[in-house]
Amino acid sequence: MQTRDLVRVSLFAALIGALGLAPRFDLPIAAGVPVTAQTLGVMLAGVILGARLGATSVALFLFVVACGAPLLSGGRGGLGVFAGPTAGYLIGWIAGAWVVGAMMRVLPFKSDFTSALIASAVGGIFIIYLFGTPWLAWSSGLSLKNAAIASATFLPGDALKAIATAFIAQTYFQTFSPAAGARA
């Protein structure tokens, strides 16, 4: 790994941590609904760093959390989060960021907004639930169907985050892309 990639991966992992700690911001469509959003960071990692570096960044973030840094939203961290019923979603973040990055590359749409929206809906929601729901079912003894119903309560929030990612990606690629490095 080049020094440049290593530092970008590390700083993006730090950004995911920072997103969990303070920033709440208003979204364009759901005016007034504050969102504190680490999955937003996961989606953005895939969109902006690409599949390989994005997934590495998320994995690094989770490693730092596992070692005890309280960086998950609400100040959670340590091994407990990986022993809990929602651990599957966290592992799913890694695969999710990878899929978002890979889809950004292959989707044929001209508009960054459309590509980022579809990529984050598939990678940032579907893939993460694909890992999280079976783990929730298995660890808590729920049936898969009930676990899916329980996960579905997070769906509206996650859909908002996918839309936010699309808006942010569009602004980012239009305004900063040439200076900050191409979409990869």
């Binding site: 790994m1 992992a13 920072a18 840094a69 960086l71 959670r76 022993a83 809990g84 660890s139 003894g141």
Partner: protein, 199 residues
Amino acid sequence: MIGAPLSQRTWLHKLPAGFKLLFIAAATVVFFWVEDPLVLLASLVLVLLVYFALGREAVLRLKLFRLMLPILAIVGAFQFLASGPAEALASVSRLALMVLLADLVSMTTPMIAMMDAFLPVLRPLRYTGLDPSQLALAFALVIRFVPVLLDDWLRRREAWRARGGSRGSWRLVAPWIAGLLRIADHIAEALDARGLRLK
């Protein structure tokens, strides 16, 4: 669930981190086999007694456990309806037990010791091009830059508000990330200039 280690040293601090990790791994396997709610409940009480044995600060940490309560309530309610009170009790106490046990280790193990204990597990990753010195550098950068980025975000939001914006907007995220990547490239140049060589 709650990361930061306790400020006082306790008897649990003296055990090697690798041993504690192995113990948790073994306990996880064992407790997923146990189905008797009474055994699980008794183990839960045992773990809580360890918290009390560790002193006041450890007991206060239990307060932070309330973040887990909504999900435990959901699991408990579903289980109660699907398979009855015994199953619900077993599931909820098993989950609480696993999380509290893992937190016990995180609370009594410094972050660096934890990272060292993980390294043997991560050694196979060497074949994918990751080496431990890179991981240590990346780890340090993450810890250092969370507060820097947070501060940067708050400054941007302050400037936005001063110009009449609302409390913060998604519009600030893209420039925030662009700024971050610019900082990253400066750091990379500085590291290279100081002779960091990555394979």
